[in-house]
């Protein structure tokens, strides 16, 4: 997964994945990419969308959500 695989609607706070096929990604990978993306200067004005609640367990925060398709394309613990 790369940053290009993310579809982010900053207004509606919805995150989707632009991935073809049945390939699934570890939610930890999503976490790393989002953290990398949201520390860019242009994104500092947005609240962080995800945080690790415990080891390898994540949750969407600050009103951010994953779209339905993205949820199916991820594995690992995320709430």
């Amino acid at each position: 997964m790369t940053k290009k695989d993310l579809m982010i609607d900053f207004d509606k706070k919805i995150i989707g994945l632009n991935i073809k096929g049945d390939k699934r990604y570890d939610v930890k990978e999503l976490y790393s990419i989002l953290m990398d993306l949201f520390d860019e200067p242009e994104n500092m004005k947005y609240e962080i969308p995800i945080e690790a609640s415990e080891k390898a367990s994540f949750k969407m925060v600050n009103g951010w959500k994953l779209d339905k398709k993205a949820k199916k394309q991820l594995f690992g613990k995320i709430s």
Binding site: Y31, M35, F38, K45, K55, F58
Partner: protein
Amino acid sequence: MPGTITTDLTLVNATGGDAEVITNWTTTAAWSGAPAVSNDVYLQGSNAINARASTATPGTIALYWDHLTTGTANLDLTTSGYHVYFWIKCFSLPSMEKKVRGGIGVSISSTAGVTKTGTDPWSGINDSKQWFVTGSDFEPLSGWVCYVVDPASTADLSLGTPVMTSVDRIGIRAGALQTVGGGSVKPLPVIWDALRYGTGLTIKDGTGSAPVAFTDVYTTDSTTANQYGIISKQAGTYFGAGKFNFGTTSQTAETIFYDFGQVFVWQDFPVASGFYEFIINGASGQETTLHLGQYTGGLTSKGCTIKGTGHESQRLIAPAIVSGGTGYTANDILTVSGGTGSTAAQFKVITVSSGVITEIRMETAGSYSSPPTGTLSVTGGTGSGATFTATVAGGSIWTLTASAANQVAKFYACTFSEMKSAALAYNTVSPVLSSNCGTTNNSPTLTTTGSFNTSGVVIGMSVSGTNIQANTVVSSIESATSLTMSKNATGTGSSLTMTFSHSSEVRGSTFSNSGAVTSNGCVIDNCTFQDVKTTAPISATYALIINSSTEMGRVTNCSFINCNRAIKITAAGTYTFDNLTFSGNSYDVENSSAGAVTINATNGANPGTFINTGGGSTTINNSKTLTVTVKDSAGSAIQNAQTSIYKSSDNSELLNADTNASGIASTTYNYLADTDIYVRVRKSSTGATKYIPASTTGTITSSGFSVTITLSVDTNA
């Protein structure tokens, strides 16, 4: 005794005005004990007039008057700001009527006759104005009081057509409500003495070694021969009632007034709003110095308090009918609505015509900190719809006029309150003593073969010359030929030239509950301007008026608190606010000029609000630093952490930058008011240690903003 103290007070009549004789006094109504000259109880001269006021029917007022014919027929009391000064003592006050209905009063008439008119207690002689000055409810100590009234002011009672440009009689009114002298003792407890008109005192002379002080003024005022009544003293507090002229423009010697640690209260009498005044004047080469408080080693102390009184107990007088309403009955008591105070004023309906009020009088004067004004509505009585006007009385105010040339005013640790306005000046006086001074090494004593006094040298002047250290001032003046400096001389010498210098300045002082101070360039340092009085009788708008950037440059380290408009700037330009702090003001600055005013705040100054009233514009520059320091849990700086600051109010961005090698990201911010912010720090880019994002909130204050944020390593990223 230092100083020459004179007055412009004039006896209303050279014969009888000093109450040494009964001549020229005429009674109205036969007093219970006829007025007679007595040398048993008197204040001024050798005698006073004593009389007894009593009622045969307790509870029903019996009124008496005794008027003095003016020495000059048709005396014009409206010129030159004349006020009437009348010494009265009544030791039967508990038996007299209340003040509101004229227990004891001062009566001024423009008719030579003394025929009574009106219905008691609203009665007096023809064409007279009567000021009710005390009564059974007002002054339990029954001491001598020199009552002062402004003939031009609204009186408690006005009868006929009194013309104050043509006064023929001035006298006393006494209204008894109880029997006096009904027993074996037959006192004459209503006593009056000197009756004068004028404005105040002139204080001149004094020297650096023997300056004039309030005690000297009081001593002269209160001699048996004088008893002017312009300054009195009780329990160590001075009470003033008139103009105090310090120096004159034609004086032929220096005037030096110096005092400290005194309390001076302006008496609450019915005087003109600009009547109470400290006025400082001097002559070229013969300057005047007014010096209150002490200033030593950069510290102020022992200041004087000068204040008005009576502002929390203002009252209503002289009601007038606007609308008579309907359905009212004589003797109705109507309570006035509105205002803030402890007691509401009440009016009494005297007469009605078919239920419409045709005559109204005071019943209760009321006690207000903020009296009702304008058209007054009332409650009570049998009718409705009546409205009135009334005059607000009470609350003494004063003016400080220290703006003339050839004078220097120096105020240290003073408190000025209930001050209508002040006009200051810069005025530098620099006497030089040429080739006649002597110093001794390591001694603070400076001697002269001439005279420090006649040279105009005063305490507080800076001293410069051979063997004199920098920032040396005159600490005390022991004699005309010897003074003590604040620092030792650095060598021994004689026939030296010394320069002395000082300017007007106000340091460590407070102006409260007052009106505007116009600096005119006066040095104002470490002062507080608080609670500009916007309501009557001061009705001010500004705390401080500044007319140029040069003037502003002499105002430093001051606070402006709860002012309608703290500083009024009248001219375009660039102004430096050096540690001028503002809080609770409607506007910190008013720019009344038609041009651009730029304010550069320094040393913690925090001007934030302004209003442009002259068509100009105002820019406040108050650059503050916002700093975020980012460290890891070991306390080491983290470089390249993305750091941002946003305003909480509108999410506008103030900072968005990477931290430097010291872990710091910073920016500048133009501070206008405390501003809530939130801070974000993130570092999760690939290729370096990643950290869990952090955020916090804070407030930008006049000191700026600084925070340290510690990041924890993110093991999930």
